[in-house]
Amino acid sequence: MNWLGFFSLGSAWLALLLVPLVLVYFLKLRRARQQISSLALWYQVVNDQRVNAPFQKFKRNLLLLLQILVLACLVLAAMQPFLPRASVRAQYQPVLIDCSASMGALDAPGGERRLDVAKKQVLTLIDNLLPDQRVALIAFHSTARRLTDFTDNKTILKDALAKLDVVPVPSQTVDALRMTQALAHTVPIERVLMVTDGNVPADADFELPFDLVYEQIPAGGPNMGITVFNARRSGLDQWEVFVGVDGSGSASQASGKLELFRDGASVGSEPVLLVPGRTKRVVFRLESANAASLEARLTPDGFDSLDSDNTAYLQLPKSRPLSVFIPSTLTSFRRAFHVQKGIELADEGAGSAGASFDVVVSDRPEDVKLDSGVALYVGFVPKDLAKLVTVGKGSIDVVDWERSSPLLAHVTLSEVTGVEQPRSAEGVHDGDFEKQGYAILASGRTGPLLLERRVGVRLEYYLLFHVDQSTLPFRVGFPILAANVLEIGRMQAGLAEVRGSRTGVLPPLQLKPRMMYRVVGPQGSVVDMAANESGVLNGVSALSIGQYRVSEGGTEAARVGVSLLDSMETSLVAVKQLRFKENQEVAATSDRIDADRPLWPTFALAGLGVLLVEWWYFQRRPGGWPET
């Protein structure tokens, strides 16, 4: 094994400078003439020195010796020696750095964040870069971001590393690996370093085309945090707020206090004691007729390594009855909805164009234009499917239906019969409907019976046969179906249940179509974005925990709070092995990153040191040069 390598061995020719150095030294050595009474004693002195030791020659010419040492140091530095440590010396070295929420965990009170530990390791790698090596830094959390291109400029690399900060989002490795794979098309990449605390998904849908070094830094200390924050309506103005608290393995017996705030005012507090292996669920009951901002704060009793999961946000909507429009012609549904509580059944005249409802159930094709969160159209085929399916005379033979669909939950369609029979056109398959954006929820013998389509945040259902021309209203499942429609409507309107939004991207917001909105984040970040034609504002990045205010012309249009709410990140659990496609597995290693250690700075410093010694030695004569 080579114990020392040289990157630029050709620079050894510089050692030939030794010859002119020695020649110049002796030729140009200007000795001061010193007249003395007799040379008798000095001859004896010189003879003594000559026979004492060969090294004395160098000692007598110490200045020459020092100059030779300086030259030797400089030549060695120019040869760029290094201590080979890495088994494979990669010329292009991508470094993937995890900066997800768990990397913000501390190891001890006042200790280092995991990201800072990772930065130190990467800094070591950067400092030990050899002249032919290039490093690209890629940060990843829920997505990946390339910090630098392949470069050997240590300033650029260190600056990029210094700017890297923890992003409170769950981690995903696939994006970073795909980005690296893309880089591999431009430069040869043999080995990729991934520096992480191990709190990443164990399985990745990715086929490794290179060697992956899974560098795992030690996990953080004990942690507990909020992983679930939901609210469900329990009455007209009643809400049940669920808060789930989880902890890391080392914090299984941790305790703390959970406090709930509504619009900044405390509305409840509960002590929390974690039980190993179980999520602690805390329920708060509160009345709220108006829209409210809820904030859950967890205050651990002991040391808590991660702060970002101790706060969660939730927006409660204003309490109101569900607005439902059903034309008078659709008597079956009107009767079924009539007995339901918490809804406001609109009059026939309210169904004009431009009106907005939470739920629309209609058998009139022109009601498709009505604005609603959920729409159930019965007895006609949507225009864009007119070529795919037609409704003719015949009996309804229900073959199968999607039981997991919220609309058909607990609904049995097996004995439903009717006189209208939807028929698929010749050669039309289920995939053709999916291409048009429709999902088949119930199928008959000759064609689809029930279709689902999502348009933005709007949900549309098409029952292709008319219920009044079937036995469905007389079946037990019909009121259940009607109740399911209302439940879906409440869900769409946010009146039944709201869930805490997670960091990453803001949830889609139903606003005015094509209007420009300004989104102000908790850190003061500002994003201007327009809603689409359906009035949906989506795709807004939310990488900070807190409340985002959406305003239109200075008027607040919506407010959304986002929080981490990820049990994986809160658990700080470290994955020991990453699994990829084709049964590829990469085990974690806690060893420091192996990197060849360049020695040229050491030799250059040594040369400078010897030069200083030589200068000092040359200048140290107390009386200066004696006069000749």
Partner: protein
Amino acid sequence: MADEAVKQFTTLLDNSILGRLERMRIAPRRKMTNRAHGEHLSGKGGTSIEFSDFRDYVAGDDLRFVDWNIFSRLNRPYVKQFRYEEQMCVVIIIDASTSMKFDGKFERACQLAGAFALMGLFSLEPVSIYACGPSGSEPAICPRCTGRVSRGRVFQFLEGLQAGGDSAIESAVEAVLRRHRGRGVAIVLSDFLTFGSLGRPFNLLFSAGLEVCALQILSPAEIDPELTGDLRFVDSETEQTLDVSNVGELISVYHDRRRELERELDEHCRRRRGRFLTTRSDDPIEWLLFDRLRRQGWVR
């Protein structure tokens, strides 16, 4: 001031020093004297006024020396013995080579020569002075003289000496012995920085019946040289050069060699029952003459 300067007997030594020197005598280790009557007591028996010892009378002894008082008490004849005072030549050899021109070494040698000569003259000893300069040429000689009347002549000779030349001390001694006759003491004033061996000249002096008193005079720069760096030494006598690098590191070796030279000179002198002393050219002359030389037993 001018009057005071005029009153000085010589420029080499102050009058007060001269006055003290007149009362001092050279104290040789051996009694190497001549047959001529002088002030130095001979080791041999003879006639003088200083009692030496008794011995049994043997037939043929001069009856004038029988101690009749002892004979009357012991009824046995004993003969009184007396010491014999003989002359002791004082030979002063001055190294007047160029190497002695440094830092007042030659001036100090002349001062010491004058002092020793004065002691010898006031002891009624024959004093002769030799100054050896250039090699191959005759040494400057102050011929044998004696008595206080000769002191002016001696100091005039010394004041007129000039240093210069490349004469080695060993050849200078040979040149002196070619001209000198008589036993006594030879005082050699030199720095003894020579390439040759010093055993031969000391042997020659000893063989000639002269007690060797070597007095090495070194300058302060030769005893404690303050030199550093790479130097080219130039010999003052031969103009030869010697390149020495990093002189500062060799000073300790130089001291070792200088001390070795002193030990060697001392050894040469001791073997021949002589004396050796090293002195700095900047030592006070009073301290040297009246303290150090006296404590070392050179003078009394």
